[in-house]
Symmetry: C2
Subunit: 431 residues, 2 copies
Amino acid sequence: MFGPVIMGSSNQKISYSELGQKLVPSAIASVMTIALENPDVLSLAAGFTDNHSLPVPEVGEAVKDLLSRSGLPEYLQYGPNQGRPELRHMLAERLMKQDGVVYNEEDRKKVFITNGSQQALFLATQVLCDAGDIIFVESPSYFVYLEMLKGEGIEARSLPVTEDGSIDFPGFEKELIGMRESGEIDRVKAIYLVSYFSNPSGESRSEDEKIRLAEVLQRLDEPIAVIEDAAYRELYFTEEYPARSIVSLDDFKGISRLYLTTLTKPFATGLKIGSGFCTDKDWLERMLWLKGHHDFGSSNFTQAILENVLSDGSFDSHLRVIRQIYQEKMHTLHIALCDEGLETVGWEWKKPLGGLYLWLKAPEELDTRMGSEFWEACCRNGVLYVPGDLCYGGVKVFDSVRLSFGVLSEKNLMEAARRFTETAKLFSNIG
Amino acid sequence: MFGPVIMGSSNQKISYSELGQKLVPSAIASVMTIALENPDVLSLAAGFTDNHSLPVPEVGEAVKDLLSRSGLPEYLQYGPNQGRPELRHMLAERLMKQDGVVYNEEDRKKVFITNGSQQALFLATQVLCDAGDIIFVESPSYFVYLEMLKGEGIEARSLPVTEDGSIDFPGFEKELIGMRESGEIDRVKAIYLVSYFSNPSGESRSEDEKIRLAEVLQRLDEPIAVIEDAAYRELYFTEEYPARSIVSLDDFKGISRLYLTTLTKPFATGLKIGSGFCTDKDWLERMLWLKGHHDFGSSNFTQAILENVLSDGSFDSHLRVIRQIYQEKMHTLHIALCDEGLETVGWEWKKPLGGLYLWLKAPEELDTRMGSEFWEACCRNGVLYVPGDLCYGGVKVFDSVRLSFGVLSEKNLMEAARRFTETAKLFSNIG
């Protein structure tokens, strides 16, 4: 069946673009590989969601409803690059309702649908930044975004913090003014905030903090965008975090803003639909033109499923169920770590009010990085975590860890807590 | 409900990356806008698929089967960045079967799943090319790819052709040697072929042509990759085009190759799943690392649906149905154009053996570009087409058009042919 074999002299390695050369594997990918290769290992690393509560009946009903509609099955055809108009309308309305402001017909035009909110982050960043540009990030921040920035040669610089860990706004303003004086300000393209039950810290940004940021930027009067990642906003345990988003705060007037959310983290990650709400028409257009090159539109079918569950209320009723599940899981992990005595060997953490993570500070000077003695001991003891240093942009901190309580069962969370604490105790004299 | 309004002094326009600045709206987007704004217009422009034969029962069965499975509903959870292992296995096996070669266990590792084959094209190109680099393309070639290249500042250079329109291999070799002598060869990153029932030409590349290309590249011995876009390979009308893919031709040994296919064009475009098969492990890894930044994995749910319809045979039985539908539609449009007398006023075209397009050559010197007199007259007469010049890289040709027969009904195809021919007759004295 084969054609004649020519002994190919061509054995030249292809050469890559600047980006292609700089790309490196994701650090978290190696954590996942350890987990996959060692089925006995309990992973507190993966940010997966609870498997048992995935919305099987809700998706079933939505698909049944779609398939039984009269008329053409447009949901199986290509959809618009920007996303389904009705879904965009619903998302704009939902955001305005969350922010307690009046929905305006223009709002739907600001929404675009992406392959998870990750794609929106990618589009936003590619349109804004060349290699060497700067994005200010929180300490800690979302490590997948930090890895993307690194891959693109963009500097993730830490927002300055006060001693209690909150953003040092006067310090930040001073830093920006200094950058203007040194001619560096043009490289600052955006500020990235994970402002509701953050991945990884679990913390939220108060309205007061957002307003103070807006004031700094207004006084500075430089073209710096603000990106607010609200992936966990709907995953509160008992009540919404009482802060409007940056798109509804008039203090940001004139500042280009992008608000990101995901429909799949709080419902079914396998559907992979996120969205952005952009206040800057020109920026939005460019992101959409780039999306045209990426894929000219996200899956119309999964968008139609989400449109359906949003409109019949099953998205919200499912959310009510999983909020309780995650609160219980968080509580289980928290109590297990307490009961095992992790606090007694110098570890500290706060109970979050939402999200999927506990953010732990190790005893002073305990190195938790991948490959550290502590890391290796945890692996040997069958428990994985995300090393905190991956969550820092500029100034790295080596004594934190992120523990996810989303995916493991209550029983496994308790066993993982036992293994983790057992290992931590072996290192307690270091602390 | 609003916070205090600060009269924002910040009204600075944000500045974009080099890429962000270069981005332009897609030409085809303006065609689509005309179609949307004028419901009476019949569009032979959009490359949509037939709406009436979309696989509603097949998708329904697949979802029902998935949802009724015992065990965890993993298909609603995140999947691997590279794609579902079983789907990758099936796609590798399917390709080897089409090529008539023996499937090797290693083959599945070469497959990756993307948001339509467009994303694979984007990843491949971003990893390979910086602005100023060169990709050789056919005349005509896939205009969405040409637009992407333009957007990224990459030069799409036309492969030289002989008088009968086939690739001029000696000419190409000479050109490449010349580029080596002038030091330009390092900028040549890949050759892009749409080799089965091409969009837009409907033509296929014989095995002999592929082998001649391989020979040129082997003799040249420069690190130039080959990308084969087989989006329409399965959309033949009566029989497969008898040419193996570049990944199964030993003549290409040592040359980095990427073969692209889509699961959604021949099934349901709304599911948005494509795939790549890459012979170069290092290139593949870099594309996957970049995909990690894009979205860290395509929708696991739509992948699971496709896995299901591939394994129970409904993908293939649906293909058998739509092949006949598209053949009939092609025939309807072809006959209607003949009956209306388009040939009598100097237009020429060939009946394709597969795909979704008729590629028409206008009478000499009739300008069919967007905004030309002919274009405006067609718009006024309520029929849209894709101007052929959009499908050329380097040397543009202004007297061709692409007509899609995928989406319109038989009745509308006939009416569109009438309007098109009527307009063409008005311009017949120009020819």
